[in-house]
């Protein structure tokens, strides 16, 4: 179960990006997830929910797009509050 540490890394990226933009709250994080990334989507979504509660963006959503034949795991975009 490494999904929790992955969820924390995802939130960390969002927090850094938000900080660079004057701490605008992040409403959603868009993730591109390769099917060979070794990550289980359902496990990641529930881990993310737990991790988000403790983060700067407790109501932030995670939107996962699955990419076939890829090992990538990439935060592709953020949805900001304004």
């Amino acid at each position: 179960m490494h999904e929790l540490s992955i969820a924390l890394s995802i939130l960390e990226i969002a927090e850094e990006e938000s900080e660079q933009r004057g701490n605008i709250p992040v409403e959603a994080i868009y993730l591109k997830m390769g099917d060979l990334s070794g990550v289980v989507k359902e496990a990641l979504l529930s881990a993310f929910e737990l991790a988000a509660e403790q983060s700067a963006f407790p109501h932030c959503r995670l939107v996962v797009e699955e990419i076939p034949a890829s090992r990538d795991l990439q935060v592709s975009a953020l949805e900001l509050a304004q």
């Binding site: 179960m1 490494h2 540490s5 992955i6 890394s9 995802i10 960390e12 990226i13 990006e17 933009r21 605008i24 993730l31 060979l36 990334s37 070794g38 990550v39 090992r71 990538d72 795991l73 990439q74 935060v75 592709s76 975009a77 953020l78 949805e79 900001l80 304004q82």
Partner: protein
């Protein structure tokens, strides 16, 4: 109204931090002239027995060392220490895999130039370790004959992330009716061209071939 776009593109790799540390480690290993091989497998596939035998045989001509990851206990480090090679246990607590930062921390009080080859035994797990680069030059995935020939098909990601497949406990092959043709076919199906070595830490079978491969790949002489 603010002109800030509502959706901003980011394109950040989630494993970025781990990858950065792994890259720095790889550079350090290269600068110190040390070759690093990591081992992954399911629990009980025989990583520790394989490594103990490898360390014992390598010690005759080389200066190997090992890091070994487990959730709890120092048992594996104690076993590996019988080889007389320097060994350090990394206990991960509840974490199912090693990360580059743990390797970096474990190496803090070691002088890398004292060694020419370092082994990193990952936590027994065929899922999570696949995502984490540890800065190693070579990743071995171990598969014991008692596990079933279809392991590569069930865990393609970890086999795909590895460079060499080591089939362990080959001395038990007949007893468990291990089908080496099927195993080889399944390995090649998920990682075409993968080098496969059959070994037994108990009888020593295959260790000549493995150590030849290692010393050639690592350019140890």
């Amino acid at each position: 109204m603010s002109s800030t776009p509502r959706i901003v593109e980011v394109r950040q790799n989630v494993f970025k931090r781990n990858d950065e540390i792994a890259r720095a480690l790889r550079q350090r290993f290269r600068d110190s002239g040390i070759f690093v091989a990591s081992l992954v497998s399911s629990p009980g596939a025989g990583k520790t027995a394989f490594l103990e035998k490898t360390l014992t045989l390598l010690r005759r001509r080389h200066r190997p060392a090992a890091l070994v990851g487990d959730l709890a206990t120092e048992n594996d480090a104690a076993r590996l220490a019988r080889s007389q090679a320097p060994v350090k246990q990394i206990t991960t607590g509840t974490l199912c895999h090693l990360e580059a930062a743990m390797v970096e921390r474990a190496l803090e009080d070691w002088n890398l130039s004292d060694f020419d080859v370092l082994f990193i035994e990952n936590v027994g797990n065929l899922v999570c370790p696949a995502s984490y680069d540890l800065g190693e030059d070579l990743r071995l995935v171990l598969l014991s004959v008692t596990e079933g020939e279809d392991k590569p098909l069930k865990y393609p990601t970890i086999f795909n992330s590895a460079d060499v497949a080591v089939i362990t406990k080959i001395d038990l092959a007949e007893a468990v009716e291990f089908d080496r043709v099927a195993a080889e076919r399944n390995i090649q199906a998920v990682r075409p061209g993968m080098h496969v070595i059959e070994t037994s830490a108990k009888t020593g079978a295959g260790f000549d071939q493995w150590l030849d491969f290692l010393t050639t790949t690592a350019r140890l002489d």
